[in-house]
């Protein structure tokens, strides 16, 4: 597709359940980011993938959060044993090689809106 595609667009889950959020980046983009936007707050960096390099996981808030990127394209963000404070919009973004390191723009998807009840 032309843009970053995320699914599901909306997810309501019960506390304690696991959820998977999917991101399909723009074709040819090797850099992929996950950010979280909580209600009334700004954007919080979660994780960064660049090609075949080891990802930067420094922003993941706890060990309940994990992400992978298969084949250098699609990425999945997994949240285990969800808590109410995990409720947020999870935004995926992609960018040409090295992302903003080279001054490239990062382009965001529409987000996955997660509600934990």
């Amino acid at each position: 597709g032309a843009g970053v595609s995320q699914s599901p667009s909306n997810k309501v889950t019960e506390k304690g359940k696991d959820v998977e959020l999917r991101c399909d980046p723009i074709s040819g983009h090797t850099a992929l980011y996950w950010y979280r936007q909580s209600l009334g707050q700004g954007l919080e960096f979660l994780i960064y993938f660049q090609g075949n390099s080891a990802p930067d996981k420094s922003g993941l808030p706890s060990d309940r959060f994990s992400a992978e990127r298969t084949g250098g394209s699609v990425s999945t963000l997994t949240i285990q044993r969800t808590q109410q404070e995990d409720s947020a919009v999870y935004l995926c973004a992609s960018s040409p090689r090295q992302g903003t390191l080279s001054g490239n723009t990062i382009y965001f998807g529409e987000g996955s809106w997660l509600t934990v009840v």
Binding site: G42, A93, G99, T100, L101, G103, I106, F108, G109
Partner: protein, 115 residues
Amino acid sequence: AQSVAQPEDQVNVAEGNPLTVKCTYSVSGNPYLFWYVQYPNRGLQFLLKYITGDNLVKGSYGFEAEFNKSQTSFHLKKPSALVSDSALYFCAVRPGVDSSYKLIFGSGTRLLVRP
């Protein structure tokens, strides 16, 4: 600590009047600067960026921003606001450090343009 500040939670302006959304930053080195807009229940859309060169950059939808190194600012401007410009605006900075690829975002400014 490296940070981005958007000092105004909300900016109100009448349609047809000029608008300014403020952004200041505190980061290492020579930063790359970005503005994004978020419409209700949507993701972020890229508006414009400053990497190097002319301090005044022009972007989408008639927006422009001026990089001021001495004041460490990158304010977003538009000469004549439209009601459809009402949205949430985010300033973002990539610190000017060789190994940095993350964008640091401000807390956002809600722009309300009244008819």
